[in-house]
Structures are given as C-alpha cells and as structure tokens.
C-alpha cells in the first residue's frame, strides 16, 4: 500500500510547478554562480595573456623598452588620452616616460617614469603587478651596473635579498570556489523536498485531506513510508540536478588557464551521489516528521527553513578550521557527508567503508524518524491539529 501513496504524492508534486521551481532554484544557483565567478576570475589572471604595456614617450628610453620586450612584454604606443582610459578601465595601465628621462639617466641621476594605474580596479591589479615587477627588475640591474662601474659591490646596498614565495595564487583562490560545492549539494538535500514534505503533512492536515486518507485500510506506517519515499526522490533529484549543473559548469570553465587540475568526472559524481543519497533519505524523514509535528503549514515552513541552515555549520566549521577526516566523523549526519565530499573533490577518495558508515547513520535515523512519524499519526492531536476535537 506504500506504492499508491508514493505515486500520488509524486503526481501531485509534479503538477505543482511553482514549488518545483523554487525547490530547484537553490540547487541550480550553486553551479551558476560558480560558473560566473570562475569565469570572471579566470579572465583576470589568464596567464597566457601577454603583458601589454602602453608607453607614452617610448623614444625617450630605448634601453628600457628593449628590456621590457626581452622579458615578453608587448610594448604599444599609448593613446594620447591614456589617463582617461585607465580611469575608465579601458586600459589596465600605462607607462609614461618624460622627455628628460634620457638626460637624467645619462647623468647618473634617478630618471623619472610613471606607472599610471587605478588601484581600485581588481581586474587590472595582476597586470600592474607584473609591469611593476619588470620595471623594478630593470632598476635593480641598472643600479648594479652603475655600482660595478664605480667599483662598489651591489651586495653592499642590498643587505637583504627578499624573495616572494606566494602560496595563495589567484588560481588557488579560484579553485577555492569549488570548496563550496559540497555546501550547495547539502543545501539541495535540505531544500529539494522541502515543499513536498510540508504539503504532504501539514498541508494535508490543513486542507482536510488527512482524515479521509487515514480512514483507508492502510497502516500508518505505510502512509508515512509512501510520503517519505516521494520526498526522498524529490530531494535526490534536486541533488542530481545540482551535480549535473556543476558538471556542465566545470566543463565550460577554462580550468587549464588557472592551472587547476580538478575534474568532475564520473567517479567523482558517483562519490558525491554516494554521499548525498543516503542523506536525502534522512533529510526527507526529518522534514516529514517535523512538518507533521508542526501545528500549522506556516509553522512547518519555519521549522524546515531553519533546518536548511544545518549544512552550513559543518561547512563553515571546516572552512575556518580544516580538520582531517576521521572515521568517527562519518557517523555524524551532514558532517560525514561534508568531509566525504571534500575528500572526493580533492581527489583523495576515502575508503568505501567510510561511505558505508556515512550511509549507515542517516538510514538508522530515518528508520527511527519513520517509526516516530507513524506514531504521531496515531495521535488525534496530530491528525486533527492540537487543541481540536469535538
């Protein structure tokens, strides 16, 4: 008798376009925002893009220009209104070499040159940074040559030799966007079946169809089991949609440009599903039971919206304080899945036994919740709403 209830709930749900749309909005938002941000960052730090330096007054400093070109920079003649163009973001930067550059340089004084940039523009920062590095390198070389010419060791004026070893490359920043993927998948778990869970429980009571349903020769357990399976399916579907969305998004993203060796191939997709599907069953059972318990439709909405925050906790926790996955953590619903997915993403898939452990506890919890929900339906207070009866 579980099957007719399952079928009816699905049919009813599939006709509810608006709630299907709202249920899939969040799961799709993850991949879409990922695609947008990743593409944006990739366009900023694209490494194969040559450094282009528009120069005003290039004829004043032929050796500097030659140096820049030797180091791979493309030197262009700056347009007359280069300052305005930099301000408008049309140019990332410009180099201005005044007429007296050569005279000062010849005389062994500090020759003037200007880098024109707009430091408020994140987009141009890498280009400005690269240009500045090249110019500083040129300056160091020149000063070394001048000192050697006067018989002074260049090391004398460089008591400290600083080398930058920056581990937080822009590529890594972009790749970090992938770290929120498990969070979005978990949100999909808690939002995918939310509307159906409320409609099939508090909604069923509020529209007065629970009483006619319960006078049928069907056990209370079959009623909750049928509804639970329908909610679970809606939830798992949302996860799948999100996952496919991520796969399509990642396929469109210029990952190579970022030097990220990440792929969402079949094995990774299966790993994600193996983590999320058992959790979907648990989330569905929890949502259904809570919504039965709620006095009204509105109250159920409040409860289940708060439940959506649950996946945030482990994800935030791990982001702030990265922990190494341990076996016992697999037994904590949501936390276990978060860690499993993070490991899969990193390309270090945990052993199958961990997946089994992470599936075990949600399933046990689901069974307990189902039994509780069936018990709730034997209570007149739940069936007719609390305070009712007469």
């Amino acid at each position: 008798m579980i099957l007719p209830i399952f079928r009816k709930e699905l049919k009813d749900h599939l006709r509810d376009r608006r709630s299907i749309f709202s249920g899939l909005l969040m799961p799709i938002l993850g991949p879409v925002s990922f695609l947008a941000m990743f593409t944006l960052i990739a366009s900023w730090v694209r490494q194969d893009q040559p450094l282009t330096v528009p120069v005003a007054g290039a004829q004043n400093a032929p050796s500097l220009i030659a140096f820049l070109q030797r180091h791979g920079a493309v030197v262009e003649t700056a347009p007359p209104d280069y300052e305005a163009q930099v301000r408008d973001g049309k140019l990332d930067l410009a180099l201005s070499v005044p007429d007296d550059y050569g005279k000062e340089f010849e005389a062994g004084r500090s020759a003037p040159a200007q880098i024109i940039s707009d430091s408020s523009r994140n987009k141009s920062r890498p280009q400005v940074y690269r240009a500045r590095r090249l110019l500083e390198l040129y300056a160091r070389r020149m000063s070394a040559l001048r000192m050697i010419a006067r018989g002074v060791s260049p090391a004398l004026v460089a008591p400290l030799e600083l080398t930058d070893v920056d581990l937080a490359t822009p590529e890594k920043t972009a790749a970090n966007l992938l770290a929120i993927m498990p969070l979005f998948l978990l949100m999909a778990v808690f939002v995918g079946g939310l509307h159906l869970a409320i409609d099939a429980t508090a909604g069923e009571r509020e529209r007065g169809s629970l009483e006619p349903l319960l006078v049928n020769p069907v056990s209370r357990f079959a009623v909750v089991a049928g509804k639970w399976l329908a909610i679970s399916l809606a939830t798992a579907f949302a996860v799948l949609v999100s996952l496919i969305g991520y796969r399509l998004a990642i396929a469109r993203v210029p990952l190579q440009d970022l030097g990220v060796k990440f792929q969402l191939g079949m094995p990774q997709m299966l790993g994600m599903l193996a983590a999320c599907v058992p959790l979907s069953l648990f989330a569905a059972a929890l949502q259904m039971t809570l919504a039965f318990f709620a006095r009204t439709y509105k109250e159920a909405q409040t409860y289940l919206s708060m439940l959506m925050l649950v996946p945030m906790f482990p994800a935030t926790f791990i982001a702030l304080q990265p922990i190494k996955s341990a076996r016992w953590e697999m037994l904590v619903p949501v936390l276990g899945q978060t860690l499993l997915m993070a490991d899969v993403l990193r390309g270090e898939p945990p052993p199958a036994s961990w997946f089994a452990l992470a599936a075990l506890s949600p399933l046990v919890c689901s069974a307990a919740l189902l039994a509780w929900a069936a018990r709730l339906l034997r209570s007149e207070k739940i069936v007719f709403g609390r305070g009712a009866g007469g």
Binding site: D12, R207, V218, E380
Partner: protein, 244 residues
C-alpha cells in the same frame, strides 16, 4: 453492522462523549441526531479508528475497531467531517486514489469509477482538477471516494451540510439507494428535518449521552408528542438543534 458500547472520550477537561451506546443494523438508515458539540463527530471518529476511546468499545461487523483497525477500515466507507480534496488532482483521480488504497485491481477500479461518476452525476467534472469546485461538487467527490470499495457500512458526517436543494436531494437519494442495497448507513446531523426525512431509526445525542433511541414513531410516542420536532425538543430540553 455498526455497534458502540459505553463509549467515553474526553479532551483535556472537556468530556466530548460521556456514555454512548447504540447499534446500527444492515439495511437500515440510522441517524445520529444532536445539537452541535453533542459528540456526534467524536463518536464517528472513534468508529473510524481516528480517535481512540478512553473507555468502551466500537465494533464494525462485530470486529473490534481498536484491535483490528485496518480490517475495520476496510469495511467502512466514510465521509468525514473534513472533506478535504487535493486541488491538483482531478475528481477521477481522487476516486482512483481511494480505490488503490483499498487494493482494488486496476480493471475493476476503472469500471467502478465510471459507475460512481454516473451514479453521482459528475460526468462533466470528472476530469477537472478539484481546485475551484463548488461545495456540492466537493461533497460528491468525497462521497465517491468513500464508496469506491462498495463498503457494507457507510458513515456520513453531516452529509447534506451546506448543500443546495438539488445536491441535498441527490445525497438523500443515494442514502436510500445504499439502504436498499442492504448496507448499514449511519449518518450524523444536527438538522431534525434531515433526519426525519431519511431515517428508519434515530439516535438522539446531547452532551455526550444518548437521550433517545428508536424509530421516529417510537420516539414520538415515548415523548408523548404529536410530531418529531416537538419530541426532539422535549428529549434534549432545548430547541437548539432546530436552528439551521
């Protein structure tokens, strides 16, 4: 056959049903008559296994409802107080859902559905979603849903409440037809005229107790009144139930 013996139910400090016993036989229309809040709906809900009595026993065809709830529900067709429908399902789908829950095989269910659609004259609305149905149309769907498995015992909670004249006539006609088929029909109403028009036997309930039980004739004689209306007033001690 529907029987209750010494049913008792209280909700917190409110005693809904104090001590109700009666028996509704097959082939007879039995009316539970009483003012609002008399305990009619609570009694029906105890019979339909939705509420557990504090004391007493409810029997369907001699089967204890408390001990065999699923089997008892198999033998009853219920039009509950709440006629809730699913707005996104059609009238036909409502009937079929109930039929599936009763385990009726597909073929049989299809022909039974057609039969009910004709019987309740709902051909024009059968394949429309119930969202926006009139009150009468909703009651028809709920009735069809209750009767899909051809139950031997039919319980109707205020079946004509809020219906227009035409729908009321149709429901009365249906109730008589069920009786002629030998079913046990138990229906509750707070409207005296409704009960007197239909019932072979009347159980008058007020304040959770049975005050009178018998044929309309018997009730009149016992109260020593000319007509049923006055008998009713004298039995329950007020004219509350007469106000529609």
């Amino acid at each position: 056959m529907i029987e209750v013996r010494n049913l008792h139910k209280r909700f917190g400090s409110v005693i809904a049903v104090e001590d109700v016993s009666f028996c509704a036989n097959d082939g007879v229309v039995t009316g539970l008559l009483g003012p609002n809040g008399a305990g009619k709906t609570t009694t029906l809900r105890m019979l339909t296994t939705l509420i557990a009595p504090d004391r007493g026993i409810a029997l369907i065809d001699g089967l204890s409802v408390a001990e065999h709830p699923v089997e008892a529900r198999r033998r009853i067709g219920v039009l509950p107080d709440a006629r809730g429908l699913y707005p996104r399902l059609t009238a036909r789908e409502h009937i079929q859902y109930a039929g599936e829950l009763h385990g009726i095989p597909r073929k049989a269910l299809e022909s039974r559905t057609e039969e009910l659609i004709d019987l309740l004259e709902m051909r024009t609305i059968a394949d429309r979603r119930t969202d926006g149905f009139s009150h009468g149309e909703r009651v028809k769907v709920a009735l069809a849903r209750a009767l899909v498995h051809e139950p031997r015992n039919v319980m109707l909670d205020e079946p004509t409440n809020g219906l227009d004249v035409m729908s009321t006539r149709a429901v009365r006609e249906l109730i008589r037809r069920l009786r002629d088929q030998g079913k046990c029909v138990l229906f509750s109403s707070h409207v005296m005229q409704e009960v007197s028009a239909l019932c072979d036997r009347i159980v008058i309930i007020a304040h959770g107790r049975v005050l009178a039980d018998g044929t309309p004739e018997e009730i009149r004689t016992r109260a020593g009144k000319e007509n049923l209306e006055e008998a009713f007033v004298s039995v329950i001690g007020s004219d509350q139930g007469l106000l529609q």
